[in-house]
C-alpha cells in the first residue's frame, strides 16, 4: 500500500510545488515540529516557538514559519509528511519526540531537498541534519559543581537530588561528580526525585532526617528545587548559609534570583528558548551571507542576580 501511494504523493507534491513556486516566487517555508507539552519545560518551549514565529515573520516578509506540535512520535512523523506534501517546506526545524522512531521520517524530509535543523534530542544516525542546536547537559553539571566549589570547601557536606534515570540525568550527574572530585566536598548521598516537586519535597525531608549536617543541596532542576526549599523551610534548616542550586531557568526561580533570594541564589540555564535559537539560525541559513551549517551547543549559563533579567520571561508558562 505504502509503496503504491508514495510515487503518487510525490507526483502530486511536485505538481502543487510547481504552481506554488509560480505564485510566490521567493516565499521560503520553514516547518517547525515539536512535542505537545507534557511538562512545564516543554510548555515554555512551545511558548518561545510561538514568540519566535511572530518576531521572525515580522522581520522577514518572505519567510513563512509553520508551527506544528504533536502529542506522540507517530503523529509527529505524520506531521512531517504533511509539512512536505501540503506546505512543501524548504527547511525543517525539529525537536524530536524520541530519537529512534523519528530518524527515518526526517531522512524522508531531507530527501525532498529541505534543510534540516535538529533541536535538543539528536537523531539516531549521524550526518542527517545540517544544523544542530542543543543545550549542554554535562556543562550544566560542571557549572553547578563549580558554583558549589566557590561557596564550599574541604569537609562541607552536600546532598544531590537526581532526575529520572536517563542519559540526560547521567550526563549531568557524572560531570558534576567529576568536577567536584578532589575538592574535599562530601556528597552524602544522591536519590532520584524525578524532576518533580512532590518527590523533591519527600526526598529532601528524608535527607534532613538522616543527615544532621548539610551545607548545600544540588537539586539539578527548578521543580525539584521548589520541593527542596519547602522541606528546608518546614524543618527550619533554611538559614545558616544553606543554599540550593537548581537548573533549567523557570521564571519563578529567576524572579527570586533577581530579588536576591539567599536560599536559591543562582540557577543554571537549560533554556526552553533553544527552539527559538534554532529557528533564528535556520532563517539565517536563507538570509545570511555567512555560513550557518554546524553544531550549536548552548552554554549552561550561570544565572546570578546580575544577569537574571536577561533570562526572565514573565509571560512564558515556564
Amino acid at each position: 500500500m505504502k509503496h503504491i501511494l508514495k510515487p503518487l504523493a510525490v507526483a502530486t507534491a511536485t505538481a502543487i510545488g510547481l504552481t506554488g513556486a509560480a505564485l510566490a516566487q521567493d516565499q521560503i517555508r520553514i516547518g517547525v515540529s515539536y512535542p505537545t507539552p507534557t511538562h512545564a519545560w516543554a510548555a515554555g518551549m512551545n511558548w518561545h516557538a510561538e514568540q519566535a514565529e511572530v518576531r521572525l515573520e515580522a522581520l522577514h516578509p518572505n519567510i513563512d514559519l509553520i508551527l506544528v506540535n504533536s502529542p506522540d512520535p507517530a503523529s509527529q512523523a505524520s506531521a512531517l509528511e504533511d509539512l512536505v506534501s501540503i506546505h512543501q517546506i524548504d527547511a525543517l526545524v525539529i525537536l524530536p519526540f524520541e530519537s529512534e522512531p523519528l530518524t527515518d521520517p526526517v531522512i524522508q524530509v531531507r530527501e525532498t531537498g529541505a534543510l534540516i535543523t535538529v533541536v535538543d534530542r539528536g537523531l539516531s544516525q549521524p550526518g542527517i541534519e545540517d544544523i544542530y542546536v542543543a543545550g549542554n547537559n554535562p556543562e550544566l553539571g560542571r557549572v553547578s559543581a563549580e558554583y558549589m566549589m566557590t561557596r564550599l570547601g574541604e569537609g562541607d557536606n552536600i546532598v544531590i537530588l537526581r532526575g529520572i534515570p536517563t542519559t540526560i540525568d547521567n550526563e549531568r550527574f557524572d560531570a558534576f561528580m567529576e568536577t567536584i572530585e578532589g575538592s574535599g566536598i562530601n556528597v552524602l548521598d544522591s536519590e532520584f526525585a524525578n524532576w518533580n516537586r512532590d518527590d523533591g519535597f519527600e526526598v529532601m525531608q528524608d535527607f534532613l532526617s538522616r543527615f544532621p549536617d548539610i551545607d548545600a543541596v544540588w537539586a539539578q532542576d527548578d521543580d525539584i528545587a521548589i520541593g527542596v526549599v519547602a522541606a528546608l523551610e518546614q524543618a527550619g534548616r533554611d538559614g545558616d548559609g544553606m543554599f540550593v542550586v537548581g537548573g533549567a531557568g523557570m521564571k519563578e526561580t529567576i524572579r527570586a534570583i533577581m530579588d536576591g533570594n539567599e536560599l536559591v541564589p543562582v540557577d543554571v540555564l537549560y533554556p526552553p528558548a533553544m527552539i527559538a535559537t534554532a529557528m533564528d539560525v535556520t532563517v539565517a541559513a536563507f538570509t545570511s551571507n555567512g555560513p550557518v551549517s554546524g553544531r550549536y551547543i548552548l552554554g549552561a549559563t550561570l544565572i546570578t542576580q546580575e544577569n537574571a533579567a536577561d533570562f526572565y520571561f514573565p509571560d512564558s508558562p515556564f
Partner: protein, 339 residues
C-alpha cells in the same frame, strides 16, 4: 474463590481472621525494625511525623477505595481527580483573591470547591458504572484520561501556582500542628474512624460486603445495589477532595505530574491491608496499615544507599508482594483450606 474461602472460614474462623488481621501489621513492624537498624534516625520524632503526614494523602484516598473495592468495583481515576481538583482549587482561590482578599473566606471557597468537585466527579464515575452499565475499569480509565488532560489544559502545559498571599493563610492546613500532631494526620485519623464505623457498624457497610460477595444475591435481598455502588464512588470522590485540601498547601502548585500513580498506590494500600480485590471483604484498619507500609518503604529506601537507586522499584515490588503473601499465604492456615 468465594466458594472456597467460605467453608475454610467457618472451619477455623478465628485463626484465619487473626492471621488476616495480623499480617499487614507484622509486615509494618518488620519494616520499622529494619528502618531503625539501618539508621536510628528513622525513629526520630521528625521522621515519624513526616511519615504519618505523607501517608495521609494516600491513606485518606485508600479509605475511599476500600469501599469501592469491597463492592467489587475499582476506581482508577483518583490520581488524576486529585490533580484536576488541586488545579481547580488554585484557579478558584486565585480569582477569589481579588474579591475576598487573602483571608479565610478565600480558603473556604477553595475547600468548598474541592468538596463539590470531588462529590461530583465521584457521582459521575458511579452513575456511569451503575446506570450506564459500563465496567468500572473502563469508566474510570476514561475519566482518568479526561481529568489528567484537563489539568494539563488548565495549566497550559505548565504548573498552576497558588498566589503567595493566600499561601500564608492556607499554609497551616499542611504545616500546622494540633496537640503535637500535624493537621493532615488528624484528617487521616478522622477519615479512618469514620470509614471504620461506616464499614463495620452500619447497614451500608454490610450492603457493600454483600454486593461484593454476590451482586445477584444482594439484589434479590432487596438491597438497592445501584444506589449503594454509586454511593461508594461518591465517598471515594469525597475522600479525594479531602486529600486534595491538605495536599494543596504543601507546595501550593498543581501540574500534569501531580498525583501520578496515586490510584495504584491507593489500590495497593487497600490490598496490602487485606481487602480482597474482587470484592466481598473489606478492612479499613488494614488499609491504614497498608498506606503506612507504602510510605515506610519509600522512606527506608531514601534512608539507605546500600541498594542501587535503580533498584528502588524492585524493592517496592518485592515488599508489597511479601506483605500480601504474609496474610494470604497457605502457611499457618493449615492444609484444610486446599480441599
Amino acid at each position: 474463590m468465594t466458594e472456597l474461602s467460605t467453608p475454610a472460614a467457618s472451619k477455623s474462623r478465628t485463626l484465619v481472621l487473626d492471621l488476616k488481621a495480623a499480617g499487614p501489621f507484622v509486615a509494618l513492624t518488620i519494616l520499622v525494625v529494619i528502618g531503625y537498624l539501618l539508621n536510628p534516625a528513622f525513629l526520630s520524632e521528625g521522621n515519624l511525623t513526616n511519615l504519618l503526614t505523607r501517608s495521609a494523602f494516600i491513606g485518606v484516598i485508600a479509605v475511599g477505595a476500600t469501599f469501592v473495592i469491597t463492592t467489587g468495583g475499582i476506581d482508577l481515576s483518583v490520581g488524576s481527580m486529585a490533580a484536576v481538583i488541586s488545579g481547580m482549587m488554585i484557579i478558584v482561590m486565585n480569582s477569589a483573591l481579588e474579591t475576598f482578599g487573602a483571608g479565610l473566606t478565600t480558603v473556604f471557597i477553595g475547600c468548598g470547591c474541592s468538596i463539590v468537585l470531588g462529590l461530583g466527579a465521584g457521582l459521575i464515575n458511579g452513575l456511569l458504572t451503575t446506570k450506564g452499565k459500563i465496567e468500572a475499569f473502563i469508566v474510570t480509565l476514561g475519566t482518568m484520561g479526561i481529568f489528567r488532560s484537563l489539568v494539563t489544559y488548565f495549566a497550559d502545559g505548565g504548573t498552576l501556582s497558588l498566589d503567595f498571599a493566600i499561601r500564608g493563610t492556607y499554609r497551616p492546613v499542611y504545616y500546622g500542628s494540633v496537640l503535637g500532631l500535624p493537621v493532615p494526620v488528624w484528617v487521616f485519623i478522622f477519615v479512618a474512624i469514620c470509614g471504620w464505623f461506616l464499614m463495620n457498624r452500619t447497614a451500608f457497610g454490610r450492603y457493600c460486603t454483600a454486593i461484593g460477595s454476590n451482586e445477584s444475591v444482594a439484589k434479590y435481598s432487596a438491597i438497592k445495589v445501584d444506589r449503594i455502588k454509586t454511593l461508594t464512588y461518591v465517598i471515594q470522590g469525597f475522600c479525594v477532595s479531602l486529600a486534595t485540601i491538605v495536599y494543596v498547601p504543601r507546595l501550593g502548585s498543581a501540574s500534569a505530574s501531580t498525583g501520578v500513580l496515586w490510584e495504584l498506590e491507593a489500590i495497593a494500600a487497600v490490598i496490602i491491608g487485606g481487602t480482597v480485590l474482587k470484592g466481598g471483604y473489606g478492612r479499613i484498619g488494614g488499609t491504614i496499615i497498608g498506606a503506612l507500609i507504602l510510605t515506610v518503604i519509600g522512606n527506608i529506601l531514601n534512608f539507605t544507599d546500600l541498594i542501587s537507586n535503580y533498584l528502588n522499584g524492585t524493592m517496592q515490588g518485592l515488599i508489597i508482594i511479601i506483605a500480601v503473601w504474609l496474610q494470604r499465604g497457605e502457611w499457618g492456615r493449615g492444609k484444610t483450606t486446599k480441599t
